[in-house]
Symmetry: C2
Subunit: 353 residues, 2 copies
């Protein structure tokens, strides 16, 4: 299709996640979107730079907490609006805040700011594929072809084809057990839910009102009473506090009738754990992913990362070693899902001091 | 014997070692004697506090390099003299500098400043045992009963008894192979050479002149021309540079005729590697030695140490993990002898930057 003749899309970048499994790099006040996981640019900057083509995209709306607003602005050359969530209430209310700050027929592309997309051209092509459906009132989600029976993701089951590479969704299913996930992967009808969505603001709000009216009501009141200063907007905190804390998947996508999925193969990773990052590589000849001022003689299949600190991993195998100037993590490869608790443990140690 | 009626002993504390196997805690400018390996007091302070009884000991002489002189003074409440070696030339010249700065009949107790002695009473009792022999002109060394067939130490073979717990030495033998070490340990006639000596200054210098005259000549000239300021003495660097670099064992103890050994069981460790320190403990119920702001859930048989940095070791086994604010080491337990090269590697990385 001819992007120049279509209405421009407004990216809504969600920058609220903590990334607690990425301690010690992520931590309160320095959440995952602000980390340069690849060692160069922050996840947020990488996310924003994917949707920067002015023919296709309007300047983005960022939803984040106030304590990182300054850091977020420093990462972005151009943002239409920073919506400062009074508190984190999960994605359904956060997206409602954005949708209520634009015209009802504005097309919103909701993007988490802490995922990796290796093939940006494929991503943009999928957005082009999804756009006509969104303009017809579909709530479109993007489905990632699973390459393993992951149990930590949500899955989307494809239903009937809507043509042009889009399918009506048959069901949304949260984190399955291994056997179920294996069946889905073998069946070929399920995709991972990447948390990326394209829809008109009004269509989202209408579905939200139908299925989670308390969220819509709270967000509407919060935006009606919001304070605005330059590019920053502060929705009313008291009104927003009345919203249930609920994900867009649970609140809307699993329940609404006009929900579609656009399958896309774009080298996606949620980059949600050190293991996921090790898989992304690039690995050296010994299977090591080395980042920063590190040395790993006689070591294999390790992720070794040093930020403002030198790290020597000497003759070790299958370890994740991440060090900053004030925190060090060592965990076997494959166990990095456990890090969330470790980070909490350390924060507790910090408080005691 | 009645210590009060004997001449007081002058401790000579050698604080020249780098301890390069203890990276990242030890490093240039912060050698092992200045590290609080037990987490509380520096090795140097602990060493000095062993020989502080004024009935037995005169204030100590410290031999060290000038770049750590200030740090050394800060560690010691009372030192007679800091002899600042112009350069490290191993122990024979260093001890000669001390011997030339006292009267010939002064009794010198030469102590490395980077070893652990758990049973200080046993150590002091051994000094009492050795003192009469030293006053009779013997060069007395202290022998540690081996508890394993270590190949990294020197061994002293006991010869005929001189009575009162002292033996003439039959031979000094440097680092043996494993089979030889096993034979010695089984035979019961060999002790480890701990590098601790008691002798009169004049007896040492006489033996040094007989067997390594160039060392004596260089040290004598260096002390004749030494500059003195307060408690600090600077032997002449040009004169000292002419000395061969040689250990007291090789220069004197292996060659002199009146050499004796006082075996002593005093919980000695050279604390020369992270593995040696792990063995010293104290270990928790999971076999972990944890020092500093660290957590090791589900981990076992590890040494985890954090200095000015928080460390989480999550579900790992048999690892040594040592972190400071600017360096991190991870190495399997049992391999910490390899750390010397790692430290060198890192220093090289540092220079390149």
């Amino acid at each position: 299709m001819d992007a120049a003749r279509s209405p421009r899309i407004t990216p809504v970048i969600l920058a609220g996640g903590a990334g607690s499994r990425l301690w010690p790099l992520s931590r309160p006040g320095r959440p995952k979107p602000l980390i340069a996981l690849s060692g160069k640019e922050s996840m947020l900057r990488v996310t924003a730079s994917r949707v920067v083509d002015p023919k296709r995209f309007a300047p983005p709306i960022i939803v984040c907490s106030e304590d990182i607003a300054h850091a977020v602005e420093a990462e972005l050359d151009d943002a239409a609006l920073l919506i400062l969530e009074p508190e984190g209430r999960n994605t359904a209310p956060a997206i409602a805040l954005a949708a209520l700050n634009v015209e009802p027929d504005a097309l919103l592309l909701v993007c988490p700011s802490d995922h990796v997309i290796a093939d940006e051209a494929a991503f943009l092509a999928a957005v082009d594929v999804a756009q006509p459906a969104a303009l017809e009132g579909w709530l479109v989600t993007f489905g990632i072809k699973p390459d393993r029976a992951a149990t930590g993701y949500g899955y989307i089951e494809r239903g009937e084809s809507l043509g042009r590479g889009i399918f009506k969704t048959a069901s949304f299913r949260e984190k399955p057990d291994t056997a179920t996930a294996e069946g889905w992967v073998a069946g070929g009808q399920h995709d991972w839910n990447a948390g990326i969505f394209l829809f008109r603001a009004g269509d989202y709000l209408q579905a939200l009102g139908a299925h989670e009216p308390k969220v819509l009501e709270a967000a509407s009141k919060a935006v009606s009473a919001q304070r605005r200063e330059g590019r920053r907007a502060w929705p009313d905190s008291q009104a927003f506090a009345a919203s249930p804390s609920v994900s867009i998947d649970y609140a809307v996508m699993e329940k609404a009738s006009r929900v579609a999925v656009a399958p896309v193969d774009m080298g996606w990773s949620d980059a949600g754990s050190w293991d996921a990052l090790h898989e992304l590589g690039p690995l050296d000849a010994d299977g090591n992913l080395l980042l920063g001022d590190v040395a790993a003689p006689e070591s294999a299949n390790c992720l070794v990362r040093g930020e403002r600190v030198k790290v020597v991993a000497l003759g070790v195998r299958d370890l994740i070693i991440v060090a900053t100037g004030d925190g060090v993590l060592v965990v076997p490869r494959g166990d990095s899902q456990k890090v969330r608790d470790a980070g909490a443990l350390l924060e507790k140690m910090r408080e005691k001091k």
